[in-house]
Symmetry: C2
């Protein structure tokens, strides 16, 4: 028997078909915990809301595994207790996040912001537009999201370069990044937020992009240096699509709100209709693996061992 | 030697590399014709502006071939003189028109009209969104545009059905159309305007689509019955993407301007940056075929023979 903590009442149905005699609790980490919380071994925190504090997690002394519903693990690296396994929500949001990146690129190339304004003004006027055919796109991050973006862009006739942490078949190494940038019409950021990727897209990298290139960030805000991108947008040299920002949510009055050439969406890459079904399947499968001692999927690792200090792996 | 009439000065460079001793005139069909117009055998009319009148064409008695720069031939069917070959601009605008159809679908599924309004209002607020994964899309017209739309949508995870005039591998026959409609979340119209397709998308067909389905027209306005689509948009049962309208251009005050759930663009499917290079290659190739007696490409046919009346083929 495993005591499981699920994020909300709606997610209870993920496990109702399960034949196991597991005890299911529901808690989102806010307010008083339910009775039995101290026996929870398998925790699924809510999709929205970020990491729980160390103090909140201290109320789960039996915890052995945290199954996230997010693609990124960044806020959990700091708080995951020693010895506890951390698993990411791989495959839940990749395709929907990828299609947002593609949509943003297409909207810029097809002059959709201008056309949308014209429609609002009831004005029929042809405008110049580009096409995806032949566009060279550099994707940083060759996981779930990056590979899906590459597949769709290739079907659209783009020439795609994929960069990952390490070189492998069809993937160029991160060390080549700066050398590749000048030959591309768009840069898509779909890499996890880690010590290596914070501030990766800075003034130096942006300056290497050709005029009118499009920068797309569907990963995490702090990978792009906001002030550096803002300078390139204000001079109308570059265009951008941001689904994530730094800071996030973007506060009222922030200069990004009125930056020209920017398509800005409020972190809606994930969470598309249908993701809950995929999440249920992942949680059921992971629980079975956990109980039967099989290799786990989407395992980021025990962030800290019982004995030693932090062993960051992201 | 062939006397050729090109649409504008810019297009002259299409034939400058040609080693032939052809005579090239430039005329757009408006105003006084240039000297020698009566000797023109090979005519390339301007991309924009529609068909020339019978009276204008009567000034080209030596005419043997009209090479259009448009995908559609509809306005030329009526005026092409007897015995003259009519060729369409196949492959010039297919990919850019297809990507407009895909962009429109993605924009609806990702709630982009709402998100765009929120950005304009400087408001960060998550909204529900759909995803292309698993969406069932019915494409009417299995030519250049339709096949390209199908390829990209499949890469996005959609389930695609293609309908053409006649059944062939991967293409369902037009006779099946009404039976297929209820099982699809989107309908993309990419078929030529002919006697068979005028008014094809009417109240009866629209009523068969499920709630919230998206109707996309990137072909020609009169294929969709405007009043019937408008009724479905006003009741918020269906959504639409129109790059072509009936009437076109859409006049000020027309009810489509303020129809809810509509993404409206001013016929910008074709004419994307780069199409002129493809047009040059097509014209050079067609001229060579014409002069060497090889089979022509994109031949719609002689619309009328010298002896008999109209032989419409579109």
């Amino acid at each position: 028997m495993t005591v499981i903590c699920l994020p909300d009442e709606l997610s209870r149905h993920w496990l109702t078909d399960s034949a196991s005699a597991d005890t299911v609790l529901v808690w989102d980490g806010v307010g008083a915990p339910p009775a039995g919380i101290e026996q929870v071994e398998f925790l699924v925190p809510p999709y929205r809301g970020g990491a729980w504090s160390t103090a909140v997690l201290a109320q789960l002394p039996a915890l052995r595994l945290i199954q996230l519903l997010t693609a990124g693990t960044d806020p959990w690296i700091e708080v995951t207790p020693a010895g506890v396994l951390l698993c990411r929500g791989g495959g839940l949001h990749g395709s929907s996040t990828a299609e947002l990146a593609v949509t943003g690129l297409l909207m810029h190339w097809l002059s959709m912001p201008i056309l949308f304004s014209q429609q609002t003004a009831h004005r029929w006027q042809r405008v110049g537009r580009e096409t995806s055919t032949g566009k060279r796109v550099l994707i940083v991050g060759a996981g779930d999201i990056g590979s899906h973006v590459a597949r769709v862009l290739r079907a659209l006739g783009c020439v795609v370069s994929l960069v990952g942490r390490t070189a492998r078949d069809g993937v160029l190494p991160a060390a080549d990044l700066l050398g590749l940038v000048p030959d591309h019409d768009a840069l898509v950021v779909s890499t996890p937020l880690t010590a290596q990727t914070i501030g990766l897209v800075d003034a130096e990298l942006l300056a290497l992009l050709p005029d009118r290139a499009v920068v797309v960030n569907v990963a995490r805000g702090p990978i792009v240096v906001t002030a550096d991108l803002l300078a390139e947008l204000r001079s109308a040299r570059l265009r951008a699509v941001l689904d994530v920002t730094d800071p996030e949510p973007l506060p009222p009055g922030h200069p990004l709100w009125s930056a020209p050439g920017l398509i800005l969406t409020p972190h809606v890459g994930g969470g598309a209709i249908g993701w809950m079904d995929r999440a249920g399947a992942l949680v059921r499968d992971q629980l079975r693996r956990f109980q039967q001692g099989e290799p786990l999927t989407n395992l980021v690792g025990p962030i800290r061992t019982e004995a030693a200090g932090p062993t960051v792996n992201a």
